[in-house]
Symmetry: D2
Subunit: 360 residues, 4 copies
């Protein structure tokens, strides 16, 4: 990862600001002759799109993606990749000509306003500019392509905690995820979140969350020790998502509390090859996939755009207060679910190509 | 990060196996004319060195580092960097000619044995080969050079949890860290750990831990969004350390439980410039340093080398049991403290050079 | 350089095919607060644009560039860079709905048709697809941004040979370059080329050329030995341009014929610091700039799109003939001049940032 | 390529100075289970080793290479790669305790003395330090490993020109290369060079040369457009070799003089697949290998270490003269032959792995 590009063989470069002309990405290193329809990308984008329930920002963005390059119709009339870079563009349509004077010169606490200013000496204050979560649309688009490279892997995400409220894992039902506005696999908890988050939203507050992303069908052997470990790349990928403050694999922080005999996953043979009797490792040992499900969780902080006045300073150094009006997600963790899936898919696609290159 | 190299401007490439001829690293991109004595590197290595208490492996390694290149004595008689790559080598002296036949063909649960075999079709079984924690000596050596690049930053680590037992943060005393064999900043808890870990050690078991690394004196502005965020690079750096299963910044997973008004750090002015009234952000917002202390925690799983027999399979696929004798750390989290510091120092040095390159 | 990205700190990723929707690039790592108007980019593009004389392809492309991201209007009303990636897009307007059936299945000798097919198993035959010289428009656009990063460096190119005919260096006049359709600094030779190339064009043939690019004002110290040498990066940059088959620095291949005492540039002192008495080195010693003009020459082969029938095979392996109709440059070396300038500017900008990062 | 590392999947990092403790390299990304004996590396090193005839420097270096990591003995008793990084070290044994006071403060014209000083503010003057051609021993060692990755490719080099004297290509005999001290494939010309270079050597002068490296057995499809073109990577690889001032592929600069109908290589079918009727392309079209022999030539300038006094300045800026005594190659182009081969092998190995990664 460096600047605005990530990946080694499957490489994604994103660009664009919240309220600029457009945002998008260039996806490089895609294997050739993979069927790729724009609808497949759009489908993933639609899951991330704001304004679909009262629990996400009311900003209305069509998020219509266009493919500019890297595909062509083959002899069978199917649009496929050519191996050339695939450029995707999403125009910003809802650039409400709003008055930004209230945040133009003030640093919103918890946002990147002050740090961008400190780094660059200039800051695109319109909707957060480059630091806006809107950038994650480009990740989701890239992730849709990544999925096509690893069609045998099933990458799914779910919201497993909101505020202090964790789901009941006994209730886990993947089908439930699509049925509620929280991507929550626990039907009962989803019902609870409806009321819980409504209350937070009405108060103009916000709340954090934990997202879990699971990849099944990952073959053993993916990962490139020592500094391209699968878990290290996943950690960077997830931590690079806006508002994420923690990442864990498998037992994660819980592993700190375990004894060796409880943590290590024992092995047996089955007709289908080696099996593990548990998955504390989260599908990764020594930075390399075990063949079990790869399990990653990440913590998303509450958005800092809230209706309560907060103390801050302005660009001149004067002390002041700020209250962030606007259309914000009361729980940004919700829309982080498809983003986390996309990052997982991108990392897995990259590692598949890297593995094939070295050990192919 | 890719394969065995990490960093973009300050680049570290490590090599070597647990029981090979030697291990070491090549440190590239170091600014020229920085005083660098081999003793400065040795000092950090000595902190990581095994065999210093009964709570770390009894393997006896002198871990004497040699500088092969990249330095010279300047006109003032001081050894300084030249800007050329600095190669460091540590010979393996305690390559006990032990009998590895008990692990040569069996996969130790919780270790990387199976995954290396799955990936490479071959595995250096002698002491874990490349996946041995011994590789971290090279990181510590590189970190000692990194510290010289960021002399105004103070990077310190501490063990803050062992098993379910967390330190009392009210007792935090940095000076205490050097006084006990656990790098623990809480004197009372260190006393407790002495007995606690002795018990685990005698039983042939092991236990997990949590390590916290804090960097003070980091200027605002370090970090390279979107995919070279300071926290993303730190997450990868820490997750790449052996046995680490989770990483968090600032409030970390705790942020998931917070409301926006509790999480966002408010700002005021002081005579020394902007100040924050709290540090839930862990010194990083939008992937860029705020000027506050950068705070990272990571979870270390218990070593899987224990005296209790575990179920596993061998290379032929036959089911069997394994019991790992040998000289192992009952809590590998302890020696992860200087390693975590080294990784933090490397990431900060890299980002300082990157920032200077782009933003001058 | 890897895949479709080049540069280390100043990074350019290009995308797009000859007859696709659009082509463009993402320019990453640009320092913030640099004034950048779209007209500055357009100006350079206009120099490369086809259809400006009868000596370049008659394809009509407006080559209008749009900036999608990475800039904003500052407090003084000037559009400046923000440090975020700058995406540039150029739409393809002259996608003549021509019949490609004659080249769809045949491999044009001298073109990349066969090799793309061999590599990817699929080939975008429409106008050469990704291998079209049209891709160089994106390089020129990126180069225009690079120039803004190194405003004190003057990067200029010229055509110094066409076929066997070299210019007379005694006639070199930089002002002449803009006055003839060949970017030729020798007025007399330009007059000769007019007739010479007309003859080649009318015969449906083509001819090779040599281009020289000179950068003045390059400070001493740029370059990153050993594998990021300034000349190595320039060699890759120029060789990556379509149809380039050779690159040389300073005396270049001529240095093979020299004795040591004739080749090494002697030094004296002046009021402005060290001066060299000659420039056989082409401004680079040991991979690092000397402070003299950096001088690069590259050879461009004749386009293989000619009206003479050539023997080839088709995708099924059958032997056949091919004759490439269409709108082609009789001497592609001409339009390579602004492309070579752009690549030089990009490499210099990258190395300035890299040097500042390490030794700043 | 960046700093002291090159390659994308097959990555080589070198370190070491002419008169330091040791030099060497870390070779990363090597596929596992490849037989690799230290003798195979030594064999290539011996070809580059100085002091083997009166036509190369009389410095006596054993150049004994040691493998520190990345290999192990497999079940069949054969030493093979494990997929982990392979560290190679060559100790400097002939660090003659000579007096460097005559060059310590003076800049030798044509050498990198001034530029290293300008860049780093310090310079390892002992034998040229990092800029010494001695660094190329590490490349040759890495190249020996690369050859094992591409066993079906035959990479051979030859000296084809010394001063203005070119070989007669009609006399080309690969077997002759090993029979004369010039790596010259033309027996008659080799005899001539013997006398010619003796004369230059006795006069204390030096002369340039041109080296040609040919790789046969390269499959079609290697290369990664647009900025990882096979020829672009080869150009960087060759230009990064000390004293190289020009690189060309196939017809090279000669292509500038050709018409399209003479340059483009026509195709026919054979029982073994497509064949080309000529090889002006040097085995590369559009940056991708054609399946023909890959042909690269590079120009090596004469060493600047000569016995004739030259005008220069010293570190204080005072004008002075310098005369470089010492043990130098009268034609450094000779020993560049195995170095060029090594770089070719490294680039091909890298591209094989990259191609396998993307296009499988």
């Amino acid at each position: 990862m460096s600047f605005n590009t990530f990946g080694h063989m499957f490489r994604v470069t994103t660009f664009g600001e919240s309220h600029g002309v457009a945002l998008g990405c260039v996806v490089d290193g895609t294997p050739p002759r993979i069927p790729l329809a724009v609808e497949e990308i759009q489908r993933d984008l639609d899951r991330r799109r704001p304004g679909q329930s009262r629990f996400t920002t009311q900003r209305q963005e069509a998020d219509q993606v266009k493919i500019l390059s890297g595909v062509m119709t083959n002899d069978n009339g199917v649009q496929v990749t050519t191996g050339a870079p695939i450029a995707l563009v999403i125009e910003n349509t809802d650039q409400r000509s709003k008055d930004y004077s209230d945040i133009k010169d003030k640093f919103r606490p918890g946002h990147a306003d002050y740090t961008y200013e400190a780094k660059y000496g200039i800051r695109d204050y319109r909707g957060g500019g480059r630091s806006s979560a809107r950038e994650t649309a480009a990740r989701v688009a890239a992730g849709a392509i990544a999925r096509k490279i690893v069609p045998d892997m099933k990458v799914r995400g779910a919201l497993v905690q909101m505020g202090p409220h964790k789901i009941d894992r006994a209730n886990w039902d993947w089908d439930e995820v699509a049925r509620n506005p929280f991507f929550c696999p626990d039907r009962a908890k989803a019902a609870f979140f409806e009321e819980y988050l409504d209350d937070i939203r009405k108060k103009g507050s916000s709340i954090g969350a934990v997202v879990e992303v699971v990849a099944e069908g990952v073959p053993p052997g993916l990962g490139a020790p020592i500094y391209g470990k699968l878990d290290a790349d996943l950690a960077a990928a997830m931590m690079s998502i806006n508002a994420v403050k923690g990442v864990e694999i498998g037992a994660g922080f819980g592993a700190a509390e375990l004894h060796g005999e409880d943590n290590a996953d024992e092995m047996r043979m089955s007709n289908n090859g080696p099996v593990f009797l548990s998955n504390h490792a989260g599908g990764i040992l020594g930075g390399i996939s075990t063949g079990q499900a790869v399990v990653v969780r990440f913590a998303v902080k509450p958005t800092s755009s809230i209706l309560t006045p907060r103390r801050t300073i302005d660009r001149s150094g004067a002390e002041t207060d700020i209250l962030t009006k606007g259309r914000h997600d009361p729980c940004v963790g919700i829309r982080a679910v498809p983003v986390g899936e996309a990052m997982m898919a991108c990392v897995l696609a990259d590692h598949l190509l890297r593995h094939r290159g070295q050990a192919g």
